[in-house]
């Protein structure tokens, strides 16, 4: 019985969202506001229990989960204060006088991820990709791959005028980009329709038991 009620709720919400295709209406507005509240709460809870609890609360207050001290050995528990303090510093923005202190946390956060965006990216996105494309000119396919890559790379030159050879290559690059975008678009349609099939199947099968 409970399952039927929950499924019906799900089905009504599904239809409410589809009503947006016709036009904005109270059903959609309700579903929209509901899901924003629910999901914001969901993420708050999930992130608390997955990060703050094991990495800050448990070591600082020396909680144990099972027999294991969580995260850090208990002698190093004070290390867990660092993310805790950094986290709390974010809240200084509510006190205009100390608001700037929050930048310390943001500095570490932004800087840390920026660092990750340097060396591994060089390997994975640049060196490996060039390596994979440094092919022998022994087949038509390889020639296409090489010319296409050269053209696309040329298109992305910002500090030179696209004239002469550069202009021709950049034009080739645009052609490859457009074919690539078209292909990606066509390729995607399938997965979008899959989602719709999933919802239709939910309505017809799980809810109405028609098929």
């Amino acid at each position: 019985m409970a399952t039927i009620i929950w499924t019906t709720i799900g089905a009504i919400l599904t239809l409410s969202v589809y009503s947006f295709l016709y036009k904005d209406n109270p059903f959609y507005k309700f579903a929209e506001h509901l899901v924003v509240g629910i999901s914001a709460g969901y993420y708050l809870v999930i992130y608390y229990f997955n990060f703050i609890q094991p990495n800050v609360v448990a070591p600082v207050f020396l909680l144990r989960i099972g027999n294991e001290a969580i995260g850090l050995g208990s002698s190093m528990w004070w290390l867990a204060l660092i993310p805790g303090i950094l986290g709390l510093l974010l809240y200084t923005r509510f006190f205009p006088k100390f608001g700037w202190v929050g930048r310390w946390s943001l500095g570490i956060y932004v800087g840390g991820y920026a660092g990750l965006g340097l060396s591994p990216i060089m390997q994975a996105r640049v060196l490996n990709q060039i390596g994979a494309n440094a092919l022998p000119l022994t087949s038509i396919t390889n020639v296409f791959l090489i010319v296409g890559l050269l053209g696309t790379l040329t298109y992305f030159f910002f500090s030179m005028k696209h004239k002469g050879v550069l202009g021709v290559l950049a034009r080739v690059g645009i052609v490859f980009l457009m074919v690539g975008f078209g292909a990606s678009f066509g390729y995607t349609v399938m997965s979008r329709v899959s989602l719709l099939i999933g919802r239709v199947s939910f309505l017809l099968h799980d809810w109405l038991h028609l098929i």
Binding site: N50, Q129, Y187, L195, I197
Partner: protein, 281 residues
């Protein structure tokens, strides 16, 4: 406004209605079109098929969230059916917080259907936050990252995980994800540890993974509902994937027809406009 222009500016809601009809009809009147198997799917099938029974487990990372469920769940079901039919042990985990319930749901469904025993034939390790940290950590020792399974049983007490320390003891890892997780497995499990990785991703992501297939960083790939349908054909157990492909065909044809009609209208309108300009002159 002539007829061509009117068609070009048609209210988009008529298109929405046509799409809806094209999807629903095959549910009631299946077309039963044949499906050919592509190489990346065959490769993944062969890799799983080669795992010796009742030994080192297949590690299945069910990393998808509800949003990509219709595309990726059929893959989970097909892969689990294949593994269990071959008596291959399966350890399941998830890197997505929302994947927990979904992984459990797929696993329980197939395990029940095929009479598998928890702990002997399969186990569920649950969710751990921190993507790269989890993957890298498992390369050193799985127990460090998952000291216990999802239900609190210490990993050392699970019979099928006996002697399974790290990636060296995992013959194949498959990540099913609608986001960056599959790529993370390649970067952090294959790259440093040489783990054999296969992936199941949404159709839209699949093109991005061709480079990985090319370089051998991925051994096989399932792309979207079609990938699932192909796998279902291979294991001879048609299910949602195969059924969905009929709706796919009808919608694809409809969209192409719309594009063609749109272009006919576009050129028709242009010709008419030029004609009128000429007459006016």
């Amino acid at each position: 406004m002539n007829i061509f222009e009117r068609f070009m500016n048609i209210d988009r809601r008529w298109i929405f209605l046509a799409i809806g009809i094209a999807v629903v009809i095959p549910f009631f009147f299946p077309l039963g079109l044949p499906i050919s198997v592509t190489e990346p799917v065959q490769n993944l099938y062969d890799a799983l098929d080669a795992i010796p029974p009742n030994g080192q487990p297949l590690l299945l990372a069910i990393d998808y969230a509800p949003a990509t469920l219709p595309e990726l769940e059929p893959m989970s079901l097909a892969l689990l059916r294949h593994a269990f039919r071959n008596d291959v042990n399966v350890a399941v985990l998830t890197l997505h917080p929302a994947g927990y319930g979904l992984a459990e749901r797929a696993l329980n469904k197939v395990a029940e259907e095929m009479g598998q025993v928890y702990g002997e034939d399969y186990c569920f390790l649950g969710f751990r936050p921190g993507i790269s940290a989890v993957i890298l950590g498992m390369g050193v020792n799985i127990v460090n990252v998952f000291p216990e399974d999802a239900y609190g049983t210490p990993l050392n007490d699970i019979p099928m995980m006996d002697g399974i320390r790290n990636y060296d003891d995992i013959p194949l890892l498959i990540s099913l994800a609608g986001w960056g997780a599959a790529e993370a497995w390649v970067l952090y499990a294959h790259q440093p540890y040489g783990q054999r990785v296969g992936a199941g991703v949404t159709a839209v992501m699949a093109t991005d993974f061709y480079p990985f297939l090319d370089t051998g960083q991925l051994i096989g790939l399932l792309g979207g509902m079609r990938g699932a349908a192909e796998y279902e054909e291979l294991i001879d157990h048609p299910d949602e994937g195969v059924r969905g492909m009929d709706s796919q065909s009808s919608v694809h044809i409809l969209i192409i027809a719309l594009i063609v009609l749109g272009n006919i209208a576009y050129f028709g309108a242009r010709r008419k406009r030029r004609q009128m300009e000429r007459e006016a002159a």
